[in-house]
Amino acid sequence: MTPQTRENLRILLLTTLAAARGYAVGIDGLRLGLPAQLRRLDADEITAELAYLIDKGFVAVEAKAISPENREWKITAAGRDFLAMEGLA
């Protein structure tokens, strides 16, 4: 993955989470917001970029009481601010 593709992927993950209006989104839901060539990425590759966004404070893992192995993520206020500054929210 090129640095530019990686950047696009991170932004697309954020915009997808922003579209969920406060709800958390799992890997399958996140794939809906990706173009065809990025939808084919392994869950691990997407999760790695989500981990980066978590480190930046833009994304949080949703705490789930049931089936926590099916992880879901939510955008944070900092993530929304970032998108707004980029003109993407």
């Binding site: 915009t15 997808t16 579209a19 969920a20 209006r21 406060g22 709800y23 958390a24 989104v25 799992g26 399958d28 839901g29 809906l32 917001g33 173009p35 949703e62 789930k64 009481a65 049931i66 879901e72 500054m85 980029e86 003109g87 993407l88």
Partner: protein, 188 residues
Amino acid sequence: MKPRSDSKLKILPDDRQEQIFAWACTPKTEEHPGGLAYAREQLAADGLKVSMSTLSEFVSWYGLQQRFARAASRADQAMELARSRNPHMSPEAVRDLAQTVFTLEALDAKDPETFVSLEHLKLAQDSARTKAEFEREKIEISKRKLSLQEARTRAASAVQEAGKRLEVTPEVLKEILSAVDRRLMGEA
């Protein structure tokens, strides 16, 4: 910070975005190319030039916004319903329920505009196919009716001639004619 190329469409008013999305979902016709090319033409006519990739990205983004908005709306409704019907349900359980509804709706939902366009297209194709098939069938039936009538006339005439030659009684002739007719009708 430099604005992204696709953001110029995303910051347009809602009704304008809806219009662009509708153009992009328009099927191809004899008058226009339909799809993204049609949306691009319409935008250009309005003085807004965008690349196909920008437009494509916008359409994907807009579709996702709509899809998630509908899912969130259904989840909010489920949350309200759960609260009103089960006042003892914990806020966490209500929230979990709503989250589940959101996830299911978001993954199951179809893009209605695309769906409707495809359905219209399919319907038009089916309708055209059905009409053409119906017309073909009508012509075939008429041909078969005509051909059968001619065969019956020829057979009746031949039987009557043979009957006269063989001096067959009218009753027997009638029976033979009836048998020939039944045979012809059975083959039809």
